[in-house]
Each structure stands twice: as structure tokens, then as C-alpha cells.
């Protein structure tokens, strides 16, 4: 790791026509960080992004050395970046974790079958063993079957509940100690809003916890709790990570879309 990249106190030499990174003062600024609006180079962005996640993990005691940890992997940007960063931090900071990829196949034709191909590539790219559990095997039906039966309203609610159980079952088969998911700050902000709008006090009281299910067999935690979605996208883009970027075909009707649009409008304002 370049120590100059960590020390952000150096004054950049004056140069005409270029904008230097405000952290290292050496390289050209390549981006404006969504979280802080700092104009920094790619290398410094990698450093601050990874370091903040490391601090979140350490400050919240998310893991113990020797833990077997399943990464909920959908093939999307959050879980792909999570798998990449967690592997990297595990190696760099010697967390001592055994990492696995755990995927759930909900049986959504044209969406999940494609994204699972991405996860299979991640298995090879990151060298992490992969386990796939499917609704078909666990419950005898797919989300396509469910949507045919109930239509396009509230299907996300069903899917979310079933996926949580599927993850638990897959984690039990892998004999892991913890599950980690790629839920980021934007997801949690949307969930807080949704729970207020729906009057779900029980969920509202626990939806911001970084670790949940500690009273159950396999706790799950969210290392990306304070990470902005835009920064995850930026990280994946610059690192050229392989991820599946299409939205679930059933999600346009999701109620969460209301909250998501509202939060995007808020971010434009402040």
C-alpha cells in the first residue's frame, strides 16, 4: 500500500490545467467521492473505500478469527464487491476467515438464471467455494410460479422472506458461523423509510442493526452498512469487477421503488 496515498496532508505542487488528488497530491483526481465530495485519484479511492469497511468490521466486532463466513452472493454489484473486498481485507488484515459464496436461485427466468452465471464466474475469479440453494429444491416452487399465482403486487415481500430462509438453510448446509450480505447504506435508508410508511414498528426497531439474528443459529451482518451504493458501483467500475447489473424483472412494481426515488431526490438536494 502506498503510504503517500494514506497521508492526505501533503500540499500539491501547482500545476496548470490539472486537478490533483486532494489526498495524495500526486496523482490526477479521477473522481468526486459521493460520500464526501472529495476529488481523489483511483488509488486513494480504493484505500478510503476499503479502509472504511475495515473500520466498520473492526469497530463492530463483526468476525472472530476462524469463523466460517458465507457471503450472500446474487451476482449483483453489492455482493460481488463484498466478496472481492472481504477476500482482500481477510488477506490484508489477517481476519482468519474461511469465506464461501452462497447463492439463492429463486427461479426467475431471464434474471436469476443469468445472474447465477456471474456468481459461478466469481467462484473461479475469487477462489471461493460456491453453494447454490434453490426455491425449487427447498420449497417445490419458483418465484415465477408464485407471481403467476399472486400477480405483481407484494411478490417482493414473499421473495424476501423465502430468500432469508433459503440463506439460512444454505448456511446450515455449509456449516458456517455467520452470513454476510451486501446491504448498503442506501438499502438501509430505504428500509427505514419503508418501515415508517408501513407502520412496521418491529422491523423499524431492528432494521439498522449491523448484526441481526444473534439469538438464532446463524447471525448475519452487513459490512456495507455505511457504504454508499454509488461508491460500490464506482469501486466495481474502476476495478472492472464482473457483476450482473440488471434489475429483477418483478421489481418495477415494488413499493421500495417509491422510497428509492425519494432518496435519490433527497441526495440531489443535499
Amino acid at each position: 500500500m502506498d503510504s503517500a496515498a494514506i497521508d492526505g496532508a501533503r500540499q500539491p505542487p501547482a500545476r496548470m490545467g490539472s486537478r490533483l488528488c486532494t489526498r495524495c497530491g500526486e496523482r490526477k483526481a479521477a473522481l468526486k467521492r459521493p460520500k464526501t465530495l472529495e476529488q481523489i485519484c483511483r488509488e486513494c479511492f480504493y484505500v478510503v473505500f476499503e479502509d472504511e469497511i475495515h473500520r466498520t468490521i473492526v469497530d463492530n466486532n463483526l468476525f472472530n478469527s476462524g469463523d466460517r463466513v458465507a457471503i450472500g452472493a446474487s451476482g449483483g454489484k453489492d455482493s460481488t464487491v463484498l466478496a472481492y473486498v472481504l477476500s482482500e481485507l481477510n488477506r490484508r488484515h489477517k481476519y482468519g476467515l474461511d469465506l464461501f459464496l452462497l447463492s439463492v436461485d429463486e427461479g426467475i427466468t431471464g434474471y436469476r438464471d443469468d445472474s447465477l452465471e456471474t456468481v459461478k464466474r466469481n467462484e473461479i475469479q475469487y477462489g471461493l467455494p460456491l453453494k447454490i440453494v434453490s426455491y425449487k429444491d427447498l420449497y417445490g416452487w419458483t418465484m415465477d410460479d408464485i407471481v403467476k399465482a399472486i400477480g405483481l403486487k407484494n411478490n417482493c415481500t414473499f421473495c424476501g422472506v423465502f430468500r432469508r430462509q433459503a440463506l439460512d438453510r444454505g448456511a446450515a448446509l455449509l456449516k458456517v458461523d455467520k452470513i454476510v450480505t451486501g446491504h448498503n447504506a442506501d438499502d438501509i435508508a430505504e428500509t427505514v423509510l419503508l418501515n415508517i410508511l408501513r407502520g412496521d414498528i418491529a422491523r423499524l426497531s431492528r432494521c439498522t442493526f449491523i448484526t441481526t439474528g444473534e439469538d438464532g443459529p446463524i447471525p448475519r451482518c452487513k459490512p456495507f452498512k455505511y457504504t454508499y451504493e454509488k461508491e460500490i458501483v464506482m469501486y466495481a467500475y474502476f476495478k472492472k469487477l464482473d457483476y450482473f447489473s440488471t434489475e429483477c424483472i418483478y421489481s418495477p412494481n415494488a413499493y421500495r421503488g417509491f422510497a428509492r426515488e425519494f432518496i435519490k431526490d433527497l441526495e440531489r438536494m443535499r
Binding site: V192, L193, N195, I196, L197, R198, G199, D200, I201, L204, F258, F262, D265, L266, M269, R270
Partner: protein
Amino acid sequence: MAAGSAASCGGTGCGSHCSSSSSTAAEDATAESLGRLSVSRECGKCGGGVGAVAVAGGVGLCGECFRAHLFGKFKLAVTSNAMVRPTDSVLLAFSGGPASRVALQFIHEMRSKAIESWDASNSQALPVFGVAVAFVDESVLCSKPKQEIDMAIEDIKSIGFSVGIKAMHITPLEDVFSMASKDGEGRLREAVDMIDDDTGREDFLQCLRMLALQKIALENGYTKIMLGSCASAIACHVLSATVKGQGYSLPADVQYVDTRWEIPVVIPLRDCLARELSLLCELDSLKTQQHLDRPSNGINSLVASFVERLREENPSREHTIVRTAQKLKPFSFNKFSADGYHDFLPSRLRPKFQNVDNDESTFSGILCLICGSPFNESELRNLESTKHKAQKKTDLYTAHCCQSCCFQILPSGGNLYEHFFSLLPEFWTGRVDTVSVSHSLPRDQIEEYLLEDNDDS
């Protein structure tokens, strides 16, 4: 007020003259979402053959029953929360909008009925509460022509007098700044202009409004301030406070009663929706005056648009949001608990106020200097540590502001704080105990000559 006019039949291609049952149902659904019925049906409450004109609680109601429904909510809020004692002198904050117009109408009716009962009573032991109206004139900040402003103010006065109110207080907002200085308008404008954030500016003005009402009430001997805040406004406030990071203090703002102010504040229309109140104004021809309303630009207006979209999707959403916020623990100042306060209440209601409530949030007693929000733990810690090392009064004033006000109201650039606080009304800054910084006066005198930031003395 968006009245329910005939809506399209939903794309079946038969046009606006379609009279099929499916088009009637679509029109009903649209009109019902607006709280008003466009198609006649019998009143679901009195069934008296009079056509229903409004929907409330999922039932079509005629005008009289709809009115009684809203008045019932108002009266229940007033009586079950012991909002108004017979000895009280109530100051109603009238904005000119439909909600406070209905509050004015209803409190006047309650008073009229109380007077009738008093007249008929043999003992006449208890007096009847008094009602006055206050309007905070913010026209100094709006760019409308003076003639329009004067006409609007005359309208406001005429509305109050039409209801039989004798005491009307029309107070310019800048009067809040005028105690020590005659140039209240200049100080107000300068303070507002120092705030960069649009939302911060709006929230600051909201705080000034409350300050103005408190000032009117204190100077004229009123014992309660009644606001027309309705469920819709509170739903917007719940979401605004959430996104601004004001979650800790949110419970304080959504209860029926708020006694953290010198003159307690009550909100009897908390369970009524804005569209219901607008509809009542329309049905009863209650005049409103909103010409002086200023457009909103910040987070508050974004939230209002969002809530409107939610309302279109589900008319009950505002109630759900308010119910969610009601589940948060209120503070100890969210009810009247003084000894003897509830003596006038029927005995069946007194136990509600006499039991110690373990479901209240513990309250440290520290309120934000600007917005009055109760301090959370980290704000208290910051205040305590600042008290020990404060070099200037400004440090203490800043430490007495909540994190939200520090972020969105205090001007960016710490060197501007001193000037900003110097503009604020003495009524505000005088609440901060600055005795602990009196030892720093010598530092103030020599500050410009000091070269080091840290002074070991």
C-alpha cells in the same frame, strides 16, 4: 381544494361520457381518494336519505355527519388530553390555511357551547375559557406588493371577527428581533440571509414563528397556544425529521401536548387529514387566506410532494405514518402533569394523568437553543465538554445547538457564528448560561494579539 370531478374511465376507450358501471367505479375511486364523493350515495352514518358528499373512515357521509365526525375528533383530542381548562386563555395560531381555519371554528363552537352551559348552570362555579387569535405576519420576507399584503391581512382580521373573536394579534415576524434593537427587520433579514441551506432557512423561520407566538402569549397573559397542525402536516414532519437525522427529538413534536415551551402548545387536529379539513372549509364556506404563503424549496417541499404521491397510492398512508411515530416514546414534557392541573377533569379521566408513565423517554432538560429539540446523548456529552473549555460565549451558544441546527442553520464558516448569534433575539440567547465563560473575558480583550490557538492559561 381538489374536488372530485368526473375522472376518465381508465383507458377502456369509451371517453368521458361513458356511463358504464366500470367507469362509475373508477370515478368513485379517484374522487374517494380525494375525500370527496362525486356520485351520490346515501350517508353511511345517518342513512337519512341525504346524499353522501365525503368519505371518512371508509364510510360515505353527508355534510352534517362529516362535520360532526371531524368535530368529534377535535373535541375528543381536547377533552381526553386535558388541553383546555375552564380557566385557560387560549391563543389560536391562525395561518390563514384550512387546518387552522377549522381549528378556529371548532374552538369557537366549543366555547359557545361552554358559555351556553355556563349560562344554564345554577352554580356557575367554573368560568369559561377564553379564545384569542394570533397571526404571524411574515410579509417582510415576501416580495408581494404592499397593497396585496394589506388586503390579505385585512382578510385575516375579518375571518377572526366573523367568528366573534374580539382579540386578534397580528404580529410582524421581525418583532421577535426588536426587543433590544429597533431594527428588527434588518436583523431578521440578515440572520436569514446568513443561512445557506434552503431547508435550514425554512426550519429557522418555523422556529421564529413559534418564538413569535410564545412572545404574544407571554405578553398578553395567554395560558395555552393552540396550533392547527393536522395529521398530514405531522406525517410530513415525521418523514422530514427522519431524513434530516432528527429522529431522537421526533417524538416531542408529534404528541397532542407539548409543555417544553413557556406557554404550552396543543394540537387538537392531530387526527384529521388536510384534505378532510379543506373539504370541510369548502362545504361550510369557511373562508381561508393563503395569499401570503411562500413557495417552499427544500427538503420540506420534497417530502410534501412525496407524501402526496403516497396519498394517491393509498389515502390512509398519512395516518399510518403518524401512527408509526406515535409508537415512539414521548418525552415527559408531552403531557400536563402539574399538581392540581387535572382537578377539573371528570374522575374517569384523572387516572390517565396521575399514573407515572414508564414509557416516557428520560429527558435531560437540555433543549436546542434554536429549535427546542431535546438533546441526545452525544449532544449532551459535547455540551458538557464544551462547558469546561469554552473560551467564548459563542462556543457555548454553538454547543447549545443540536447537530441538525449546527448543520443546516448555523452559517458555514465558524468565524461567522459570533455575528449570527449576535443577531438572534435576546429571548433566545439569554437562555444560555454564559457565566462559566466570564473568566474568558480577558481573552476576548486580547484575542486579536494572540498568535497561538491553544492558550495554556
